[in-house]
């Protein structure tokens, strides 16, 4: 009980200080609106369905992009881990493309795909793909040799070792990659929504549109929504991790 109380109290204190500071110094809301006004705008946006619609669209894009990246990344990572040949063929491409900031691909993708749904999902999937495939591959290659020897000693065949030891042992690494992947998916979707003149929807669109007309209260309200949703997504992923892989909660599991 006491644990949650102190951080909450501090958050409230900061908000109060913010509110008082803005009002006392008479700062124009166009630069820094007080929390009370932001709250008003937020409720208004919820009330007129603007949040519901735009957030919904953004979330759909996030999950679509992430699903593609996760499926492709984990599959390729596993294949690379199991086959030296595949690893040798694919690795140079990954090494070359991973360091490229995917945001730099936006102009190219806009030329190819326009600024519609496809472009947004593609850019986020491409970006999330890399940390996922790299972490998966690393997890498979770095299997604890002791576990493999133990399985061998107990009579497991090569196939059995791959399926029953190497892959489960790689799960913590794969999950780490999926966390990173989700993080960049969110960033890229919102960024993609901010660029482009057609297909105007999503939280990123709300942000850029509010910014263009200097409705700073709306900008803040949208940021608050994004922050809360981001935190919820992380918590959801952690919950899924614990359900799928309960043993990762324990240190020194073997």
């Amino acid at each position: 009980m006491a644990e949650g109380a102190t951080p909450t109290a501090i958050i409230l204190a900061v908000l109060l200080a913010w509110e008082l500071f803005v009002r006392w110094r008479g700062i124009a809301p166009i630069y820094l609106p007080p929390p009370s006004t932001i709250l008003v705008y937020l409720f208004r946006m919820i009330g007129n369905g603007s949040i519901e619609y735009n957030l919904g669209v953004t979330l759909l894009r996030i999950f679509a992009g992430f699903a593609i990246a996760a499926f492709a990344g984990v599959t390729l990572g596993v294949l690379m881990g199991m086959s030296r040949l595949i690893a040798r063929v694919v690795d140079p491409w990954i090494a070359a493309l991973y360091p490229l900031p995917k945001i730099a691909l936006i102009p190219l993708l806009v030329i190819w795909l326009g600024t519609g749904e496809l472009y947004k999902i593609v850019i986020s999937a491409v970006t999330a793909f890399f940390p996922i495939v790299i972490s998966t591959y690393a997890g498979i290659r770095q299997t604890d040799r002791g576990l493999i020897k133990a399985a061998e000693d107990l009579g497991a065949s090569r196939r059995q070792i791959q399926l029953k030891v190497v892959i489960p042992a790689a799960i913590p690494s794969i999950f780490a990659g999926l966390h990173l992947g989700m993080g960049v998916t969110v960033i890229l979707i919102v960024a993609a929504e901010m660029i482009g003149s057609s297909s105007q929807s999503g939280m990123g669109f709300l942000l850029i549109q509010a910014g263009q007309v200097m409705e700073t209260e709306k900008v803040f309200a949208s940021l608050v929504v994004l922050a809360i949703v981001g935190a919820l997504i992380i918590k959801l992923q952690q919950w899924i991790d614990r359900k799928v892989a309960p043993w990762t909660a324990y240190r020194d599991g073997h």
Partner: protein, 271 residues
């Protein structure tokens, strides 16, 4: 099953030009149904030897043969007749106790009902009844140790290779596990090869102690332990035990000093 180790040498490429020779010309016949201990300082190759016997490492030179004394002409491939209990346990962290214990049977294709039945009875016999669904991460060190033991025993192989299995345990748990192992040995009459660097443990458990030198590992001397079976903790205070301890201690002391010097040199060299 006898284990016949013939002139086994194990060398690894080292830093620079000199290979690291873990074992040199090791030859010994481990007799069936005997409890043999490999006693030596760190780095003397005893873990390597045990893995070579288990078919998990290949010897650079030499030969290991598993021989059934009743049918000496039949060749046995390494690994099929022996099972390892590891220093680091190597339990599968994502599998619960019963799935860990039943792992070997699962690999053989034994149906779930049967293998769970056998696993349950073994889990009970090592005193872990009720913990079948627990994950290794939820267990104490001693409990995990017993899971590892059960996982090995379920295979019912004639040879058990144990690499310092009780090294990480606290003194009291260690005593309990040693008594457990003695009980298992008396009941199953397996051929056990047990690696340790603890002298009292070796004397308490074994019929013979192979004292090894520091690297390159060779046999320094083989001590016979004539204490009666079944063994018990009280024997530690007996005169015979004390004599053996003195003997083993003097043999090993020299080698431990050498081993420490080697380690110091290795550290120097890597700076």
């Amino acid at each position: 099953m006898d284990v016949s180790v013939e002139n086994v040498t194990q060398a690894w490429p080292g830093r620079g030009d000199d290979p690291v020779i873990a074992l040199e010309n090791f030859s010994h016949r481990f007799a069936s149904r005997r409890f043999s201990c490999l006693l030596g300082p760190s780095g003397c190759g005893k873990s390597t030897l045990v893995q070579i016997i288990g078919g998990l490492e290949a010897a650079t030179e030499g030969n290991v043969r598993i021989v059934d004394p009743a049918r000496p002409d039949v060749a046995h491939p390494l690994g099929a007749d022996s099972v390892m209990v590891w220093q680091t346990l190597n339990l599968f962290p994502w599998r619960n106790v019963i799935d860990n214990v039943a792992f070997g049977l699962e690999m053989e294709g034994v149906p779930k009902k049967q293998r769970y039945q056998r696993a349950k009875s073994l889990i009970t016999s090592v005193g872990l009844a009720g913990f079948e669904q627990h994950l290794p991460g939820q267990l104490s060190g001693g409990m995990r140790q017993r899971v590892a033991l059960a996982r090995a025993l379920i295979m019912e192989r004639p040879i058990m290779l144990m690499d310092e299995p009780f090294g990480a345990l606290d003194a009291q748990t260690k005593i309990v596990m040693q008594e457990e192992l003695l009980r298992v040995f008396d009941q199953t009459q397996k051929t056990i090869i047990f690696v340790t660097h603890a002298i009292e443990e070796a004397i308490l458990l074994a019929d013979e102690i192979i004292v090894m030198t520091a690297r390159p590992g060779r046999i320094k001397e083989v001590l016979q332990v004539d204490l009666p079976r079944p063994r018990s903790l009280e024997m530690v205070n007996s005169k015979a035990f004390g004599t053996l301890f003195d003997r083993a201690f003097h043999l090993i002391r020299e080698e431990v000093m050498k081993s420490m010097a080697q380690q110091a040199m290795a550290l120097e060299g890597s700076r």
